[in-house]
Amino acid sequence: MAELDTSAKDNKPGKGGKKKRKKMSTRVDLTPMVDLGFLLVTFFMLTTTFSKPQTMEINMPVKADPNEKEQTQAVKASKAMTVILGAHNKIYWYEGLEENPQMNVTNFSPKGIRTVLYYKNKTINDLVVLIKSTNDATYDNLVSIFDEMNIIGVKRFALVNLDPKESELIKNLQ
């Protein structure tokens, strides 16, 4: 009887089967996994170096030999402009290649050397900028002035040694 009963129960579609094959949920608690994921994300975000350094290419002239003097003279006075980097982020500049030039003082602000270079570059074809630096100027100044050349689009510029005469002139201005 009991046997029969059970068999009868088993035969009943649905009810018995449901009880036995209890469907296991396929859902897993993903919270710890997310935690771990974000932990690693944070780690990599903090250790990563996004800004790969940029570089500025500089081509220096071949090292001066004794008869180089003629070459510097080859720069036409009408096309030349001299920019001297001074102490405390100051810039001194003058036009031409005169012996006793009229020195102007300016700075690195957009209204400063950039405006000057902009107009000079516009009015003078093939402008040649001679960059000189006093010993008080910083590397930042040097990079900035090269940068200004790139911003304005001055094609010809060179880093030249400072003349003793010019350093005298600057001293007088201070």
């Binding site: 940029q54 570089t55 500089i58 008080d136 100044n141």
Partner: protein, 201 residues
């Protein structure tokens, strides 16, 4: 009174989407990350509008820290060994294999050649705490020039990058540039950070 059944809403949220995002980001950062080599020099580099990327390999770096000390480093383990061997030959210094191995692991250093042996014998800890005085590069004693020229012999493809601190005074930079020019290196790169190009009227 019959109880009104308010169906309880489950507080469980489906985490799958969040998990997807987390791992997507994780993959991205893992692939783009590049571990920073611990440099002996801390340099605050100036900004410029130049956006040329520095090549990944074959780089010879000359760093100048804010005190004006000059550091030198080349990449590639094998090239470093080669370079040290040629320096040893020129300066008549014997390096032990351990020292050569040690040198091949150092990304940049700033000690005169006479003190190099001592420097290589130090432990990692001592080395980080050492105040390096820089490689001589003035007209009296120009070791930097030798490093550059022998480095170029070790690997002719080396490009030279100068990474100097903003506050370094011009004479130091001039010395380094003159040294490079003397060795007929007339093309070099100044490492800068990118800044936005300003408008010109």
């Amino acid at each position: 009174m019959p109880k009104v059944k308010i169906p309880r809403k489950s507080t469980l949220v489906d985490m799958t989407a969040m998990c997807d995002v987390a791992f997507l980001l994780l993959t991205f950062f893992m692939l783009t990350t590049k571990f920073k080599a611990d440099d002996a020099v801390v340099v605050d580099i100036p900004a410029s509008i130049s956006d040329i990327k520095i090549p990944e390999t074959d780089i010879m770096t000359i760093s100048i820290d804010k005190t004006g000390a000059v550091f030198f480093g080349v990449d590639g383990k094998f090239n470093r060994e080669k370079l040290l061997n040629s320096i040893a030959e020129r300066y008549k210094i014997q390096f032990t294999p351990e020292e050569i191995h040690e040198f091949s692991l150092i990304s940049s250093f700033g000690v005169p050649i006479a003190e190099l042996k001592n420097y290589l014998d130090m432990s990692q800890f001592e080395r980080t705490n050492l105040k390096q005085k820089g490689i001589p590069c003035d007209s009296v004693k120009n070791e930097l020039g030798d490093w550059v020229i022998l480095g170029r012999i070790a690997n002719p493809n080396y490009r030279i990058a100068i990474s100097a601190d903003k506050v370094v005074k011009y004479p130091v930079v001039k010395n380094v540039m003159n040294t490079l020019q003397e060795k007929n290196v007339n093309r070099f790169n100044l490492i800068t950070t990118l800044r936005a190009k300003p408008d010109i009227k």
